[in-house]
């Protein structure tokens, strides 16, 4: 199985992805381990986003909604009924699937920018609903998860189990993406993104294809939401479901390279540490770190508009060629 997926272009990236789990062990302390956890988590989230939006080239700026559904479902089940987040995660996935079916059913037929903006609308509506349904969600007060370490609670004292968990999450999402890339679904999805009518004429049921991918993307995102909640141990609508979170999915995916299985991972590996470290070390002038991050993004986009991944590929291909050339001599 793995063997088949190790296609020639991706082998280097697979190595990077698989090897990245050793990084947290070499980090000097929990702070850097925390950044590693966030990096893995956001890599997985951005890859989940990419599964629909990247391949189909239709940006969702509302994925914070599914992050929120995942986080809230498992947390409320855990806090109110003591149901293990592992099970809550599945419940969250199911709720996300339903939400994605409803949202996708109404918006997937919209064209380009109309679709993009409709995703914002749904996420905002969900946020408002979460704030106003105080009886269920505790509204703006947020929900706090008591610190009771244990595997079944998905809570640990050390960062290392979290690093494993988020890394596994990332790898699973990657596997799904890579598998999909070489499947009927993947081909159909990319074709629909390129030209919906032409794809239909080749026998692609475009609404079904998009809906399946959209639901998969939402469900995987919501799994990440559960992990996120169990890690931060506090969720509130305004931060979990914020537009900024929705935007972060896209920032990472596009920076790395949208519509490629590993692009979002590369994006997260680069941007998540950078933005955290910038915030950590540039806090003396307020606003400076986001300002710098914005400048970095602008620079990347103006000079490398395809994202970083294609560049990276060129670089590695160059290396491979070189090594072959030297061998030849």
């Amino acid at each position: 199985m793995i063997n088949k997926l190790l296609s020639k272009n991706n082998s280097v990236l697979w190595i990077i992805a698989l090897a990245s789990i050793i990084v947290p062990f070499f980090l000097p302390n929990r702070y850097f381990q925390d950044i590693a956890v966030m990096t893995f988590l956001w890599a997985g989230l951005a890859c989940s986003w990419n599964l629909y939006s990247g391949y189909c080239n239709r940006l969702s700026i509302g994925h914070a909604a599914y992050l929120g559904i995942g986080a809230y479902s498992s947390t409320l089940l855990y806090v109110n009924f003591g149901i293990s987040p592992w099970i809550g995660m599945l419940a969250g996935g199911a709720i996300s699937a339903v939400a994605a079916l409803i949202i996708g059913g109404t918006t997937l037929r919209l064209k380009g920018t109309f679709f993009v903006l409709s995703t914002i609308a749904f996420a905002e509506i969900l946020k408002v609903m979460t704030i106003t349904s105080k009886d269920i969600t505790k509204g703006a007060l947020g929900v706090f998860i008591p610190y009771e370490p244990g595997f079944s609670n998905m809570i640990w004292a050390s960062k290392i189990p979290y690093a494993f968990l988020t890394w596994i999450y990332m790898i699973i999402v990657l596997l799904i993406c890579v598998k999909m890339e070489r499947s009927k679904l993947g081909y159909s999805l990319i074709a629909v993104g390129e030209n919906q009518e032409a794809a239909e004429n080749l026998g692609v049921n475009s609404s079904r294809t998009m809906l399946i991918a959209f639901v998969m993307s939402a469900v995987l995102t919501s799994f990440g939401g559960t992990i996120y909640a169990q890690y931060i141990m506090f969720i509130e609508p305004t931060s979990v479901m914020s537009l900024m979170n929705s935007i972060n999915f896209i920032l990472l995916a596009i920076t790395g390279g949208m519509g490629t299985a590993f692009g979002p991972m590369v994006g997260s590996f680069i941007l998540t540490p950078i933005s955290n470290l910038l915030r950590g070390y540039l806090s003396s002038v307020s606003g400076l770190h986001t300002f710098v991050l914005g400048l970095i993004l602008i620079a990347i986009l103006l000079f490398r508009p395809d994202g970083i991944l294609p560049q990276l590929k060129l670089f590695f291909n160059g290396l491979i060629k070189k090594s072959k050339a030297t061998k030849g001599v």
């Binding site: 990319i190 009518e197 032409a198 239909e200 004429n201 080749l202 692609v204 475009s206």
Partner: protein, 243 residues
């Protein structure tokens, strides 16, 4: 009868782009479709393959009524079409383009790959298999249109001006390719403004004008019909005219 078009009408608002057209097509044949610009030829294709819902009439394919079905369903039943204005999936390679069509009949990646490659071979595009489609030139795009359609393994192939923009020599190449495709048992309807091609390929030709079928016959009959000459060919004014 593979295809039976029965009094099909397609209206855009007040305009009848196709009006009350009927014809039948036997398996294995090549049917030509000609007519002035705007006569409704492309629209008729769009009606047959379900891109556009028809206003009136019925279309029967292989004994099954297909009017009202969605275009992907019709594609799966075995009707494929090429676009007059080529519609490649620009960021996919040529082979991947063809494979999208191939997945219509199979779920296996490897099988789809070999079907796609075969289709590319048929149109002599296999040497560009790994090229990203947006880098193809017009002639290659036209071929890719055919390859995409072929890879859905259709029974009926609708070709819309696949030779426009080619020189006579290239046209003759393409004619050969189309003959080969036909020889594998695929029925073809072809729209073309290039007479040398359509006359030599088609067994029968249907002429549309203002959405109506004005004539159906062998190439010879069609080219000598006065109505068709007036509406379509124009009176040949001879060489001197341009001097």
């Amino acid at each position: 009868m593979l295809l039976k078009i029965d009094s099909v009408t397609k209206k855009f608002g007040g305009l009848s782009a196709v009006s009350d057209v009927s014809f039948e097509l036997e398996e294995g044949k090549i049917l030509g479709l000609i007519g002035p610009n705007g006569a409704g030829k492309t629209t008729l294709f769009n009606c047959i393959n379900g891109t556009l819902p028809i206003t009136e009439g019925t279309i029967t394919f292989n004994g099954e009524q297909i009017s009202g079905k969605k275009s992907y369903q019709i594609a799966r039943l075995g009707i494929a079409r090429s676009y007059q204005v080529t519609q490649p999936f620009g960021n996919m390679t040529t082979l991947q383009n063809a494979m999208v069509g191939a997945f219509c009949k199979t779920k296996s990646y490897n099988e789809a790959e070999s079907i796609g490659l075969n289709a590319l071979k048929t149109v002599q595009l296999d040497h560009k298999a790994e090229i990203v489609a947006k880098h193809l030139n017009l002639g290659e795009r036209k071929k890719l249109e055919i390859a995409k359609a072929l890879s859905t393994q259709p029974k009926l192939l609708l070709l819309d001006e696949v030779m426009a923009g080619l020189t006579s020599t290239e046209v003759q190449d393409m004619v050969k390719i189309i003959r080969e495709i036909n020889a594998t048992g695929i029925t073809i309807i072809i729209i073309e403004h290039i007479m040398e091609a359509i006359m030599s390929l088609s067994e029968r030709i249907i002429v549309l004008n203002f959405g109506k079928k004005i004539m159906e016959g062998t190439p010879d009959e069609v080219s000598n019909d006065q109505r068709v000459i007036e509406a379509y060919f124009g009176v040949d004014e001879g060489d001197e005219e341009y001097a």
